[in-house]
C-alpha cells in the first residue's frame, strides 16, 4: 500500500514541477492537462487506499526519512493513511482534479496559464502533506505550504493592487494564527516529548488540565486562522480576488477546512478538555450566524458564497466543539462538494459576464445558461439542507447534535442560521438566473461555459445530491473506528419528526421568501436611496460590521505609523544619536580645549607653572593632612558626635 501512498502524495508535486518548468514559457494547454492527469492518478491512488481502509485493512503508516533530529527532538517525514486522512485525501484529490480540469477551460485566455497550474498543483501537494502527515511538524509544513500557495494564487493577478493586498492580508493573518499553532506544537513537544500524533495523544492522557487547556487553545488559534474564524475572518472574503477555481478549491473545499481537520485530528486532546470544546462550539455558532448575516446583503456573488463558506465552517466547528467529530468531518466532506460546485457555477456566470460580480446587473441568465442554473440551484438546495440532498444529512445532523447535547442556545442560533443560509443562497440564485434581464442593457452577452467544464463539474453535482444518503452509513462505520462513535438520536421519535419537518419547513419558507423578493420583475437595484439601505442594520451588514474598517484604521495604520516612529524617532534620533553624540563630545572637547595650545611661549610657560603650582598645593594640602591627621580626625569625630 505504501506505493499508493507515495503516488497519491507526490503525483501532484510532479505535476506542479512540470507546470513550473513551463512557467517562464508562454501558455500551453499541456501545462494544464498533465497536472490534471497526475491529480487524477493521485485520486485513483487515494481511492485504492480508501478501499483498503474500508475493507478493514490496517492503517498505512510510512516513515520516509528524518527531517530534524537534535537533542530530544526527533521529527521524521512520516505519513499515515487512516480513516480520517483518507477521507480528507478523497475530498482533496477529487475536488482538485475537477477544479483542475475546470480551470483548463476557465484560465484559457490567461497568459500566465502555466504558472497557475504550477501553483494549483503545488497547493494540492501541500494539502496532501497537511492531511497525511503523522506528526504536528509535518502538519505545520503543509499548513504553511497551503498558506504560501494561497498567497500566490490570491495574488495571481499581481498587477491588480487589490489582489496583492488581499494576498498579503491572507498570508499575514494566517501567520498570526500560525504563531498560536507553533506555540501549541511547542507545548505538545515539551510536555509529551514527541510530535508524533500517536505517542503525543497517548501521553496527553496523563497531563494536567491546565496544560491540556493551553494546548487546546493554542492549537485552536492556529485552526482559527486557516478556517477564518472570527476575529481572523476578514481575509477570506478579500481572498475572492483570486481566480474562481482557486476560490472553489482553496477557499471553499479544502484549505479553509484544515482547521476543522486539525480539531478532528486532535479529538483525543479536545475530548479531554470539554470546556474548550464548548468555547469552540459557541464561537462556531457565532461565526455561523455572523457570516450568514453579512451574506444577506452583499452584492458580490463570490463574497456571498465566501460568507456562506464561513458560516458553514462555523457549523463544522460547532459540531467538532460538541464532540461530534465525525459529524463535523461528514459535513466538511459534503460541504466541499456542493460549495465547490457553487463556486464553479459562479465561475461560469462570471465567465459569461466577463467577470461582472454584481448579481443586480444580471438576472434572467437562466435562459442562456440552463445547465449552470440547474447546478447552482441544486447546490444551493443542498447547502440549504433540503432532504434528500447532502446538506440535509450533514447539516441538520449538527442541529440535532446541539439539540441532543442540550445546548439549546447554540441550537437556536444554528437553526436560525439555516434559515438565513437558505435565504441568501436563493437570493443570488434568483437575482442571477431569474427575474427580468438586466444585463443586455449593460452590454453583456452571456454564453454558456465550455461543455467539458460542465462535464467536469458534474461529479460534484452528483455527489452533492447523493452524498448524504449513500455515504452516511459507511462513512460513520469507517471514521468511528478512530473518532468517538457517538450516535445522535433524539429520544422521542415525535420530537425528532417535529424538529426535522419544522426545520425543513422553515428553510423552504426562507427559500420562497427569497424567490418572492428577488424574482419580482420590478426589483429595484440598490442605489443608496431606498429606506432599507439607509437603515442602520443594512449599513452595518454591508460594511461587514465595520471590522475591516476597524482593522485598517486602528491596527494597520497604527502599525505603520509606529514603525515610522521607531525608525525616525527612536532608532535615528535616540539610539544612533547617542552613539554619534559620544563621539561628538570627545571631538568637541578636543576642539574646545586645543586653545590652551595657543602657540604663545608665555602661555606655555604659564601652563607649566600652573601644573607645578597645582601639584605643589596638592602636596602641601596632603602633607598638612598627614601631619595634623589626629587633630582632623578629632574635629571630624567632634562633628560626628
Amino acid at each position: 500500500m505504501e506505493i499508493y501512498l507515495y503516488i497519491a502524495l507526490f503525483a501532484p508535486f510532479v505535476g506542479s514541477m512540470f507546470a513550473a518548468t513551463l512557467g517562464a514559457s508562454k501558455k500551453t494547454t499541456i501545462a494544464g492537462i498533465i497536472p490534471s492527469l497526475l491529480l487524477f492518478v493521485s485520486f485513483v491512488a487515494s481511492s485504492i487506499l480508501l478501499n483498503h481502509i474500508l475493507s478493514g485493512g490496517e492503517v498505512v503508516h510510512v516513515e520516509m526519512m528524518t527531517w530534524m533530529q537534535t537533542g530530544n527532538l526527533y521529527i521524521p517525514f512520516g505519513f499515515v493513511v487512516d480513516q480520517i486522512s483518507v477521507t480528507m485525501m478523497m475530498v482533496v484529490t477529487l475536488v482538485s482534479t475537477i477544479v483542475h480540469v475546470y480551470a483548463i477551460g476557465y484560465m484559457d485566455h490567461d497568459k500566465a496559464f502555466n504558472r497557475f497550474f504550477a501553483w494549483l498543483s503545488a497547493f494540492v501537494f501541500s494539502m496532501m502533506i497537511l492531511v497525511m502527515s503523522d506528526n504536528f511538524a509535518g502538519l505545520f509544513i503543509g499548513w504553511e505550504g497551503v498558506g504560501l500557495c494561497s498567497w500566490a494564487l490570491i495574488g495571481f493577478w499581481y498587477h491588480k493592487e487589490s489582489a496583492t493586498w488581499a494576498a498579503n492580508e491572507a498570508f499575514i493573518m494566517n501567520r498570526i494564527a500560525d504563531l498560536g499553532m507553533l506555540i501549541g506544537i511547542f507545548l505538545v513537544f515539551w510536555n509529551t516529548g514527541t510530535l508524533q500524533y500517536a505517542e503525543a495523544f497517548a501521553a496527553m492522557q496523563f497531563l494536567d488540565q491546565e496544560t491540556l487547556t493551553w494546548m487546546g487553545i493554542f492549537l485552536f488559534i492556529g485552526a482559527m486562522g486557516k478556517s477564518a474564524q472570527f476575529p481572523l475572518h476578514t481575509w477570506l472574503a478579500d481572498a475572492m480576488e483570486g481566480p474562481t477555481p482557486v476560490s472553489a478549491l482553496i477557499h471553499a473545499a479544502t484549505m479553509v477546512t484544515a482547521g476543522v481537520y486539525l480539531v478532528v485530528r486532535s479529538n483525543e486532546l479536545y475530548s479531554l478538555i470539554p470546556h474548550v470544546g464548548l468555547f469552540i462550539a459557541s464561537l462556531g455558532a457565532f461565526v455561523a450566524i455572523f457570516a450568514a448575516s453579512m451574506a444577506l446583503v452583499n452584492r458580490d456573488i463570490k463574497r456571498v458564497i465566501a460568507y456562506s463558506t464561513l458560516s458553514q465552517l462555523g457549523y463544522m466547528f460547532a459540531a467538532a466543539g460538541l464532540g461530534a467529530y465525525w459529524v463535523a468531518l461528514f459535513h466538511l466532506m459534503a460541504h466541499a462538494f456542493f460549495k465547490a460546485l457553487l463556486f464553479l457555477g459562479a465561475g461560469n456566470v462570471m465567465h459569461a459576464m466577463n467577470n461582472e460580480l454584481d448579481p443586480f446587473k444580471m438576472g434572467g441568465l437562466g435562459k442562456t445558461m440552463k445547465t449552470t442554473m440547474i447546478m447552482m440551484t441544486l447546490a444551493s438546495v443542498a447547502l440549504a439542507g433540503i432532504f434528500p440532498l447532502a446538506g440535509f444529512f450533514s447539516k441538520d445532523l449538527i442541529l440535532e447534535v446541539a439539540f441532543v447535547d442540550h445546548h439549546f442556545i447554540i441550537y437556536t442560533v444554528l437553526l436560525f442560521t439555516a434559515g438565513l443560509t437558505a435565504f441568501y443562497s436563493f437570493r443570488i440564485i434568483a437575482l442571477i438566473f431569474h427575474g427580468e434581464d438586466r444585463h443586455t442593457s449593460l452590454g453583456f452577452h452571456p454564453h454558456e461555459a465550455y461543455k467539458f467544464m460542465l462535464v467536469a463539474i458534474s461529479p460534484l453535482l452528483i455527489l452533492a445530491i447523493i452524498a448524504g444518503f449513500t455515504m452516511k452509513g459507511t462513512f460513520f462505520e469507517m471514521v468511528t473506528q478512530l473518532l468517538p462513535a457517538t450516535e445522535y438520536h433524539v429520544h422521542s421519535a415525535l420530537t425528532y419528526w417535529i424538529m426535522t419537518i419544522g426545520t425543513q419547513l422553515f428553510v423552504i419558507l426562507a427559500i420562497f421568501f427569497a424567490y418572492k423578493k428577488y424574482m419580482a420583475s420590478d426589483i429595484k437595484v440598490p442605489d443608496g436611496t431606498s429606506k432599507m439601505e439607509n437603515s442602520f442594520v443594512y449599513k452595518l451588514l454591508i460594511n461587514q460590521y465595520y471590522i475591516p474598517y476597524f482593522y485598517e484604521e486602528y491596527l494597520v495604520k497604527s502599525y505603520r505609523e509606529l514603525s515610522t516612529v521607531f525608525w525616525k524617532q527612536i532608532d535615528q534620533k535616540i539610539v544612533d544619536a547617542t552613539v554619534d553624540g559620544i563621539a561628538g563630545v570627545l571631538y568637541n572637547t578636543g576642539e574646545n580645549t586645543r586653545v590652551m595650545q595657543s602657540g604663545n611661549l608665555s602661555t606655555m610657560l604659564r601652563w607649566v607653572v600652573i601644573g607645578l603650582v597645582t601639584i605643589l598645593s596638592l602636596a602641601v594640602a596632603f602633607g598638612l593632612t598627614v601631619r595634623y591627621l589626629d587633630e582632623i580626625q578629632a574635629i571630624l569625630s567632634g562633628l560626628g558626635a
Binding site: 498579503n168 514603525s563 532608532d571
Partner: protein
C-alpha cells in the same frame, strides 16, 4: 597534509592575495575565482574528512608563540565552527565570481582574499589572543571595502563600523586578560588557550563581570540592540559584495563567540543574564522588524531584517539547551545563505538601475520573472517557510527557548508575523502592480554570472530545508558536549536546573566533574 589543513585554509588566501599584486589586471578576476574555488574545495575536503561522530576538536594544531605569556597558535575545528568555515569559503567564492564590474577590481579581490583569511581564522582559532587577532584584523579589509567602493556616505559608514567594533572588542580584550590572569592564579601558568579556560570554574561574581566584558565585544559585532546602529549604515553604503560577506559571515562572529566563549566559560552568568538578553533579543526581533517595515530602501529592509534574525539566533543560544543552541548555529548558516542571497539580489537590481529605492520599482515580476522567482524563494526562506533552510533554525531556536520561558517565546515568535509583514510589503512594492516607471519597462533578467551565484544558493536553501541532517548531526554532537560541560561547570542551583544534564547517569557526572 590533513594534519595542518586548517593552517592551509587560513593562510592560503593570504599568500594568494600577496601573489595577487603581481597578477595582470585583466586576468585578476579569473585568478581570484580560481583561488577562492581552491579554498572552497579545501574546505569541502575538510568537511569530508571531518569525523561527524566525534564531539571534540579535530585537526588541532599547536605552536607556542609567547611561552612566557601563554600565547600560542592553536587552531582546531568542531561541529560548531566547521560549517561556518565552509560557508565563508563558499561565499568568498561566489562573491568574487559574481563580482560586478567595479573600479580597480584588483584591490577588491586582494582585499577579499585577506578578509577570507581573517574570517577563517576567527572560526578556527582556539587561543583567545589568536581569536582576537583575527577578530580585529577582519575589520580592516571591510573598512577598506566599504570606504573605497561604497556609496555617498561611505566614509562615515566605514569609520563608524570600524570604531564601534574596535571599541567594543577592546573591552573584550580586557576581559580576556582578566580571564588569563584568573587562570594564572588558579594554575600558576599563563594560558590563553580556550580549551584550558574551559576547565576553569570561576566564582559567580567574577563570571558576571567577565561575561559583561565579553558581552560588549560580541554584542556590538552581532549587532544586538541597542548597539546595532552601525549596521544599517554599513550595509546601506557598502558595495554588494561587502554587504554579502558582512551579513553572511562577519555578523556570525559575534554569535559564534557567544557559544565559544560566553556559554562554556560562564555558565552561571549566562543563566543569570538569560532573561535580560532574551528581552534584548525580543526587542531586536520585533522592534527592528518594525523599523525594517518603515524603510524605503530595499537594502535597508534586508539589513534590518538581518538584525531581526540575529535576535532569533541570540534567543536560541541563550536557550542553554541542545535544541536551542543547535538551532541557533544552524540558523547562523541559514541566515548566512539567505541574507547573503538577498543582498546579492538587491545588488542585481542596483547594478541595473543604480537605485535601491523601492518607490522606483514596481511590477518587476512581469519584467524579470526569473529574478522575481528567486527573490520570492529567498523571501519565503527569510520569513521562515517550512522546507526552507531558515525554518529549521528558527523552529529549533524557538522550541529550545520555549523550555526556558513560555511568554518570552510567544513574544519572540512574533518574528514570523512581523517578518512576513515587512518582507511581503517590500516584495509587493517591488514586484507587484503595473510597471509604472519607464526605466523598468525593459530591464534584462538575471544574467548567466548572476545565476551562477544564485542557483547554488537556492539549491542549498531548499536542500538543507528538506534534509538538514548532514549539517545538524555534527553540530548536535559538539553542542551536546558544550551543554554537558556547562552543566558540569555550573555552580549555582539556578544554572544546574536551567542547563539540562545530558549524562543521565549521576555517577558519570560526578566523575566528569572531578576530571575538571
Amino acid at each position: 597534509m590533513l594534519d595542518n589543513i586548517l593552517s592551509i585554509l587560513i593562510f592560503f588566501p593570504a599568500v594568494a592575495g600577496i601573489f595577487g599584486f603581481m597578477i595582470q589586471k585583466d586576468s585578476m578576476r579569473a585568478y581570484g575565482v580560481s583561488v577562492a574555488t581552491i579554498e572552497f574545495a579545501l574546505s569541502l575536503w575538510l568537511w569530508f574528512s571531518f569525523d561527524s561522530d566525534a564531539s571534540g576538536m579535530q585537526f588541532m594544531e599547536q605552536v607556542p608563540l609567547i611561552e612566557a605569556f601563554g600565547i600560542s597558535y592553536i587552531v582546531g575545528i568542531d561541529g560548531i565552527s566547521l560549517f561556518i568555515v565552509v560557508l565563508a569559503a563558499f561565499f568568498t567564492m561566489i562573491g568574487i565570481a559574481s563580482l560586478s564590474d567595479t573600479k580597480n577590481v584588483k584591490n577588491m579581490i586582494i582585499t577579499l582574499l585577506m578578509l577570507q583569511m581573517t574570517m577563517v581564522g576567527v572560526f578556527v582559532a582556539l587561543d583567545a589572543i589568536l581569536f582576537y587577532v583575527f577578530w580585529e584584523l577582519s575589520l580592516v579589509p571591510m573598512l577598506y571595502i566599504i570606504g573605497a567602493w561604497g556609496g555617498p556616505l561611505r566614509i562615515y559608514a566605514s569609520v563608524k563600523f570600524f570604531l564601534y567594533t574596535f571599541a567594543g572588542s577592546l573591552v573584550m580584550l580586557v576581559g580576556m586578560l582578566f580571564m588569563a590572569y584568573f587562570y594564572y592564579q588558579a594554575t600558576g601558568v599563563w594560558s590563553f588557550a580556550i580549551l584550558d579556560w574551559h576547565r576553569l570554574i570561576l566564582p559567580e561574581n567574577f563570571q558576571l563581570w567577565l561575561f559583561l566584558a565579553f558581552f560588549i565585544g560580541f554584542a556590538v559585532k552581532v549587532p544586538m540592540f541597542p548597539f546595532h546602529t552601525w549596521l544599517p549604515y554599513a550595509h546601506g553604503q557598502a558595495p554588494t559584495i561587502g554587504s554579502v560577506i558582512l551579513a553572511a559571515i562577519l555578523l556570525k562572529m559575534g554569535t559564534y563567540a557567544f557559544i565559544r566563549f560566553s556559554l562554556p566559560l560562564f555558565p552561571d552568568a549566562a543563566t543569570f543574564f538569560m532573561f535580560p538578553i532574551a528581552i534584548l533579543a525580543i526587542i531586536m526581533i520585533v522592534y527592528t522588524a518594525m523599523v525594517a517595515y518603515a524603510q524605503e530602501d530595499i537594502k535597508q529592509v534586508v539589513a534590518y531584517s538581518s538584525v531581526s534574525h540575529m535576535g532569533v539566533i541570540i534567543l536560541g543560544i541563550f536557550a542553554l539547551n541542545v535544541e536551542g543552541i543547535t538551532g541557533s548555529i544552524f540558523l547562523m548558516i541559514a541566515h548566512g545563505v539567505v541574507s547573503g542571497a538577498l543582498f546579492l539580489l538587491v545588488g542585481v537590481i542596483y547594478d541595473r538601475r543604480h537605485t535601491k529605492q523601492m518607490s522606483e520599482f514596481g511590477g518587476l515580476a512581469s519584467v524579470m520573472p526569473r529574478y522575481a522567482t528567486i527573490f520570492g524563494l529567498m523571501l519565503m526562506a527569510s520569513v521562515g517557510m517550512p522546507l526552507t533552510i531558515n525554518f529549521v533554525g528558527e523552529f529549533l531556536s524557538l522550541i529550545g527557548f520555549y523550555q526556558q520561558s513560555h511568554t518570552l517565546t510567544l513574544l519572540a515568535g512574533m518574528a514570523i508575523i512581523v517578518g512576513a509583514i515587512y518582507m511581503l510589503s517590500a516584495y509587493k512594492k517591488m514586484f507587484f502592480g503595473e510597471v509604472t516607471n519607464e526605466k523598468n519597462k525593459n530591464l534584462p533578467d538575471l544574467s548567466k554570472r548572476e545565476l551562477l551565484a544564485l542557483i547554488p544558493l537556492s539549491v542549498i536553501t531548499i536542500w538543507l530545508g528538506i534534509y538538514p541532517k548532514p549539517v545538524l548531526d555534527p553540530i548536535n554532537n559538539s553542542v551536546e558536549s558544550v551543554v554537558q560541560l556547562m552543566h558540569d561547570k555550573s555552580i549555582t542551583d539556578e544554572a544546574k536546573s536551567r542547563i539540562p544534564n545530558l549524562v543521565k547517569d549521576i555517577v558519570i557526572t560526578r566523575t566528569s566533574k572531578e576530571a575538571q
